[in-house]
Symmetry: C3
Subunit: 318 residues, 3 copies
């Protein structure tokens, strides 16, 4: 045995001891391991099915699109059914259920999920319109579909939400966390989101599990739709902890809206960096008061102050 072998052996022994000491972060002797790369590949293919011709390597003709869709659907069905079946093992009390039944259930849930693709496409077509109408920097809908991170995060969130409502464990969160890593936009798959949803820039957005968002809502980077407290930990599971945002609401960058009983009424506009923990009546503008700035120019000994003229700002914004 040479030195390298000895050291590897030594390290393996250390690790085996560690695996015993902390068996709670090991997963052995199960059939339930998910394969994240397969799931990401499925997600890429779902994007091709939703926006055919925009992604993937092939050009598509109107005579071939049916075969294109059929091919992709077979592939997605095969892999996603199997991953869902594995994920189902994470539901409690499945020990005595025969494996075949679980596999069947995986296939059934996958079919139900895929049959929702037309509804999801309908919502996403509205989201693309909302982005185009809301962003002067958008040159075309093609640009939005090909490159806007907000649209990608919304697409993944709409897909994951369907799996979440079907009570599929783990997979919805793996998908949305993948989108989070790509976009910096963290939408929990539990959030309920209406049509014509537009996220501009998006990095730093957090949307919590029990959030409800109406139609025609627009969010900017750094917005949090969050919980007031998580002090209760696991006791708070399934309690509504995140706000409700009604139709036609715009929330500017860095604002936080917190709390499960906080309702932001229809047509409300919330200014940058506002910190809102109570309900806001409909058609109301909300902003931080007196964000006074101070100035000191070289050679002056005093700071001068200038109150931020909020009204003027709102003239621009609203």
């Amino acid at each position: 045995m040479n030195t390298a072998d000895t050291s590897t052996k030594y390290l393996v022994n250390l690790l085996m001891k560690s695996y015993q000491d902390h068996a709670e972060i090991i997963k052995v002797d199960t059939k339930i391991q998910l394969n994240r790369s397969i799931l990401i590949d499925v997600l890429d293919k779902l994007r091709c099915l939703i926006f055919p011709g925009y992604f993937g390597k092939k050009n598509i003709s109107s005579s071939s699109v049916e075969y294109y869709a059929g091919d992709l659907l077979e592939d997605v069905t095969f892999h996603l059914s199997a991953q869902i079946a594995r994920a189902l093992h994470h539901r409690a009390n499945l020990e005595n259920i025969p494996e075949e039944l679980i596999i069947k259930e995986g296939e059934k849930l996958c079919f139900t999920f895929l049959s929702k693709l037309p509804e999801i496409r309908e919502l996403l077509a509205a989201d693309v319109s909302a982005a185009f109408d809301g962003d002067p920097a958008a040159r075309s809908k093609d640009e939005i579909i090909s490159s806007y991170p907000g649209l990608y995060a919304i697409m993944v969130s709409r897909l994951a939400h369907v799996l979440y409502t079907l009570d599929v464990p783990l997979i919805p969160r793996i998908l949305t966390e993948h989108a989070h890593s790509i976009t910096g936009i963290d939408i929990h798959p539990g959030a309920v989101i209406g049509h014509h949803f537009f996220i501009d820039h998006g990095t730093g957005i957090v949307i919590g599990e029990t959030t409800i968002i109406g139609n025609h809502v627009k969010l900017y980077q750094g917005v949090t739709l969050g919980a007031l407290s998580t002090r209760g930990g696991q006791v708070l599971q399934d309690v509504k902890r995140h706000p409700t945002i009604e139709d036609h609401v715009t929330i500017y960058s860095g604002a936080s809206i917190l709390g499960g009983t906080t309702i932001v009424g229809e047509g409300v506009v919330i200014g940058s960096n506002a910190f809102v923990t109570k309900s806001v009546p409909e058609k109301t503008k909300v902003s931080v008061r007196n964000p006074e700035l101070q100035f000191k120019t070289e050679g002056m000994s005093q700071w001068s102050h200038e109150e931020f003229r909020q009204e003027e700002f709102w003239d621009y914004v609203i």
Copy 2:
């Protein structure tokens, strides 16, 4: 026909119906589809050409660097010309132009773009210096080139800006959104940026399309150089909506500078979280006034307040 075939057929029919209903988010019967993976691969190779020896798998000797560059340039030319030609189909009113002319135009634009690489390298060499001089945590220029996300975002933005000024559709934005997804830094390819530009940390930075940034400017994480309003939507296209930042300006984390007529003068320093919607004269320090904090220690019944001693802070910072 077995059950699986039947279900796939059913799902395909659903989708074909959906493709008819929402044909606006489909791209068929065109030759204009871009290939994002080819574009990302081109970007990786451009990085190898800009910083030879830092990326890629080969060690390079001074005698081989010419062949290395030649190989990469041929590869980039081949793929990028073709992608540019496809992108050109997104320009309006190209129906009657023969395909060969568009292909030629793609080659010409690609050549013009690549001939700017020395200028871009010159700017990036200055950016690397600015990062090294400005960041005590930087151990070496090698560390900056190999690992700083700010430098990567700036490099991609400088490349994309050249394509943007050549009026190449879609590709500039695909490149900058790729950098956005890698770094959390969202720089629109339209932004004009001077030399010695340094971005520290960077996550959450947004720099809008019509922003102009001078030389020796330093930005921290979470800074927005944005528009006051996008209420006008597509009507505002090509209007200057984002600020002008002059030379030697530093903007600390979380500050927002908004509006197309807002000019931040030479040598200005803007403190964390300031929200600036008007011009600032040169050599001025700006900060949020009175960011008073309140404290309550266990066992006390009252909150105590302490005004944030801005002057003291500025003693440190400036």
Copy 3:
């Protein structure tokens, strides 16, 4: 010679001139180039070793886990030793040291690093517990290990910190910047972090090089543990510039804690968006005072104001 050849030749000549003009951003004639894709692959395998059965494509049985670990360890040892040896060339004054000695040192440092894996696993097991106890949205520890970006950033930071303390150049920062790009969480490998560390959401977090964090600390998205000033640039290297956070501290979203002598005492809770540049005594709640909001509902001519009722908020939060 055809036109394409001529243009490539022209472009190569331009670049060769540029390489001469800016040789400081070229790396030729050295053996010290690191291979980032090998390093990322090593990182993926370290994750498999730390959480066996959660990642990778194979299901693992208790009888095979030893072989699984042995295989991975051999692979990691082979590649990481070589990368460390290359990185060592970036240490100063190594010109006259024989290559074999550097290779031996690479192997030695790699072995020392890998022998710390059990300690790192122990810390991470505590981090997983802290995440589960602290987040009502967490359905299971499996969900946390498979999908939480905060846990991933902490894992990479703990691994990179060991390499940092072994004075391995470049590699620690390449690893943490990879995690930064995946998660939006920017933890410098120099930061010292206790057990039961929990990061929720995480995008936009910055933790500086000389930060010290105690046990049971919880951070939310957008928190900065930063320096007051980097005006000194390279002169400040190795000076403690970032804060010390003691045990059982919670810091809510968007807060900034700045400065090398700033100590946040045991049990402190810091509210959203607070900007703290001085020490805070233990068991104290800190928040922005008077974050007053103003409201204007359609049809009203005046803005109404409402002071944010901080006490009420704290009733929820603490």
